[in-house]
């Protein structure tokens, strides 16, 4: 047993319980998968092991000794390394410079020739090549990851933790990564593999531990569990009874045809998505974050350009309309980040008019502040926002900020509302309120596109569900045709 974590509990200062009495262990030379949804606690658990954060209670035993690491460098010296989703490489420097930089912190004054020698050794042992002189940012993501792994190997670790390593890779790169991991395993290195993808768990891990909502569901030998069983454990049983009334769909109000959208890196994040939306329906888009939802939402809102495809509202092609014009056409967007949807340093009244400025202008583009104030007052009242009109919005609690954001868009009575992660990070009361608000909106005959990683929410609110995976819709259909396990599989990339 290389690693033992016993009874790990982590409670944050604001009361959120991230982990509850979790046990975890991994032996030498094994590849151990850590499976769970967003927010299950996988990354938190590993950050405790790695020494980045401290547990509230519980102990960590490494190589037979109880340890309490003071920080990442401490654990590194003991032989634990972590490869994050967001690599810690300086993008504008070359690979060899990055390796040199890293090693210089471990051994001051190390010469670059020595670094090169060790790098060559690693590449030879693992049978891959990384162009050492190239700048990190010019390399394909898969190659960058290999560089990051090389960096980590320079400190000769006994344990390597990989956090969702395949989320940014192509299938071929994934194959290559797995080959490398198997070679590392042969050298006796233990690998902890954090993921939400079931297929990969089955393919590469020896054992797998499943976490759900901060608790450990179980640990199994991988060959002994099926993907279906894993899916159920990952998302849990029990569907919250739907408070939805029966759907009464009206005419088609929006149509999206073969949409292709690029992300900030220039790669295709949305690959040929098509769907229609009717009056009085909520269409849910489920999926793990990072599969194209953000780009899709921004493209629909008009904030991001579309490479190919069309967006049509009530027969009008709005594909080339900019955001402000689309908002006037009756489309509204609630982004997943409050720092984007609100201007935190402005006050409540100023925020109330952000996406409907034209409605508050008098002659000569003059802002009619009394009108804005009364709108703000309406929002506060209808949506129970607790906060002063004149205070900066950043001083409001997260729940109140979200109510403000949601309220501002709904009060405009748009025809189509696109909302992303409406209840992320909110307490129960705020969550319930916002969900029932959305349902009421639907009853009025409006349409909503709901993007969420919270499957309870998807089932509770949506009439139809689509799952997005790597930029494509996998499986779209009526709510009744889905089960939790089917959703889990689709979200993990398995056709079901």
């Amino acid at each position: 047993m290389l690693v033992e974590m016993r009874g790990i509990t982590k409670v944050y200062p604001d009361g959120v319980v991230a982990l509850r009495g979790v046990d975890f262990e991994a032996s030498e030379g094994e590849i151990h998968g850590l499976l769970g949804e967003n927010g299950a606690g996988k990354t938190t658990l590993m950050r405790i092991l790695y020494g980045e954060i401290k547990q509230t209670s519980g102990e960590v035993i490494f190589s037979g000794k109880a340890v309490s690491f003071k920080g990442p460098w401490d654990s590194m010296r003991s032989g634990i390394s972590m490869v994050y989703q967001r690599f810690s490489l300086v993008p504008t420097m070359s690979v060899i410079e990055n390796l040199h930089l890293y090693l210089s912190s471990l051994q001051s004054g190390i010469r670059i020739e020595e670094v090169r020698k060790r790098a060559e050794e690693i590449m030879e042992r693992l049978k891959f090549r990384v162009p050492l002189e190239a700048n990190v940012e010019d390399l394909a993501v898969g190659v960058q990851q290999r560089a990051e792994i090389m960096k980590v190997l320079l400190s000769k670790p006994k344990l390597i933790i990989l956090d969702e390593p395949t989320s940014v890779l192509t299938p071929i790169e994934i194959r290559e990564l797995f080959r490398i991991l198997k070679e590392l395993k042969e050298d006796g290195i233990t690998i902890i593999f954090i993921t939400h993808k079931l297929k990969e768990v089955k393919e590469i891990t020896d054992r797998v531990t499943i976490l759900r909502k901060g608790e450990r569901v179980g640990t199994y030998e991988t060959p002994s569990v099926s993907e279906e069983e894993l899916a159920v454990m990952m998302v849990g049983r029990g569907i919250t009874p739907a408070k939805r009334g029966a759907p009464s769909l009206g005419r088609e109000v929006m149509r999206v045809e073969d949409l292709w959208v690029r992300d900030d890196r220039g790669l295709h994040a949305v690959k040929g998505v098509s769907f229609e939306l009717h009056e009085g329906e909520i269409l849910g888009i489920a999926g793990v974050q990072g599969n194209g939802q953000l780009e899709l939402a921004e493209a629909l809102a008009g904030i991001r350009g579309v490479e190919r495809g069309r967006i049509i509202i009530d027969g009008k092609d709005i594909t080339n309309l900019p955001a402000e014009a689309r908002y006037r056409e009756g489309l509204a967007y609630i982004p997943d980040s409050r720092a984007v949807g609100l201007v935190l340093e402005m006050n409540l009244v100023e925020n109330s008019i952000l996406t409907s400025l034209r409605d508050f202008l008098g002659k000569g583009s003059r802002i009619i502040w009394p009108l804005a104030s009364s709108r703000a007052g309406e929002i506060i009242e209808r949506f129970n926002v607790i906060g002063s009109l004149r205070g900066q919005v950043k001083y409001l609690s997260g729940g109140n900020q979200q109510r403000l954001l949601v309220g501002r868009e709904i009060i405009k009575a748009p025809r189509v509302l696109i909302v992303s992660e409406p209840t992320q990070g909110l307490d129960l009361a705020a969550t319930e309120f916002i969900r029932s608000t959305l349902l009421k909106f639907r009853e009025e005959g409006r349409s909503i596109i709901l993007i969420s990683t919270d499957l309870d929410e998807i089932f509770e609110l949506c009439d139809r569900i689509a799952v997005i995976y790597e930029g494509r819709f996998m499986g779209m259909g009526r709510n009744e045709n889905f089960t939790l396990e089917r959703l889990g599989l689709l979200m993990g990339g398995v056709n079901a």
Partner: protein
């Protein structure tokens, strides 16, 4: 004709020294991610202090040392505000320029009672006629080369550059970003301080009201044009030193040819040359994206 070029070149070699020292210093500072707009103020302040010290001790080398020390203190102030207080680097620099100007003139008038200039002070001697070379020239050259070597060929220079490119990644790789940035700011300001002292003890021989005349900003332009490379800054400083020399030389020459012209007013028009040169060269030759990625942004640890 030849003697014109020779004298212009020797003049340029003198004028380039403060530019070279200041720009190399600022390259080090900016490579770590901090921008110090207050170079102009440092030049003025160190010029004043070194003139004061040289006047009282009659030793120009002490004057140089005093200049270095004033630069160091300025660097400490700016570094503290920019790095630890996470203040706005550009505003702090602009404020410092105004402050340094005020304090220096105040000191000038208070010490010598004169509004325009200090009395002459002893200078560092030149050697090597006909091309009069100041001993500080090879020193400045060496400093530029050493800085180049340090930044690009040593691991500590690598760590410094990482702070300016991606401080988060640098921190994750074990670099103490805040400390490194403060150090880089101090080094840059100290070199600039030496440059300011040099203008008095190695060149003009006295402290005057307009002693720096925008050289601090020309140094900033040289930093950008050299692509943040100390070796290229040598070329840049020489070019602008040459512009400086021409702007002083041409009006005299033209007046010799045409004695009816007023020298003072003529010299004004030629004084534009260095600034116009910077503007044109910078507007046309500056390539985006060569700057350290994180330049000017305060680093806030998670």
């Amino acid at each position: 004709m030849i003697e014109d070029i020779v004298s212009l070149t020797s003049q340029a070699l003198v004028a380039m020294i403060p530019l070279l020292l200041a720009s190399v210093g600022e390259i080090v500072t900016e490579r770590s991610g901090v921008v110090n707009i207050g170079l102009e103020g440092i030049l003025i302040l160190s010029a004043f202090i070194s003139s004061l010290v040289t006047f009282s001790t009659n030793d120009p080398y002490l004057g140089l040392l005093a200049g270095a020390l004033s630069g160091l203190s300025a660097g400490l102030l700016h570094g503290f505000i920019s790095v630890y207080l996470r203040g706005d680097q550009i505003i702090a620099g602009v404020g410092f320029n105004t402050f340094a100007y005020g304090i220096s003139i105040l000191g000038l008038i208070n010490t010598w009672g004169h509004h325009g200039a200090s009395p002459m002070v002893s200078k560092v001697p030149f050697f090597g006629a006909p091309l009069y070379i100041s001993p500080l020239l090879p020193v400045a050259f060496m400093i530029a080369i050493i800085c180049w070597f340090w930044l690009f060929r040593t691991s500590s220079g690598l760590r410094l550059r990482a702070c300016g490119e991606d401080p988060r990644a640098a921190e994750a790789m074990g670099v103490n970003v805040l400390r490194m940035r403060l150090l880089a700011t101090i080094i840059g300001a100290t070199l600039t301080g030496i440059g300011g002292a040099y203008i008095v003890v190695g060149w003009i021989g006295q402290f005057t009201r307009h002693i720096s005349a925008g050289r601090g900003f020309i140094a900033l332009a040289i930093v950008a044009l050299s692509g943040w490379n100390p070796a290229l800054a040598i070329a840049g400083s020489f070019i602008f030193g040459f512009f400086d020399a021409i702007s002083l030389y041409l009006p005299v020459k033209i007046q010799l040819i045409n004695p009816g012209l007023n020298l003072t007013s003529l010299s004004y028009i030629f004084r534009i040359i260095p600034y116009l040169g910077v503007l044109i060269i910078v507007s046309f030759f500056f390539r985006r994206g060569r700057a350290p990625r994180d330049l000017g942004r305060p680093y806030i640890k998670e």
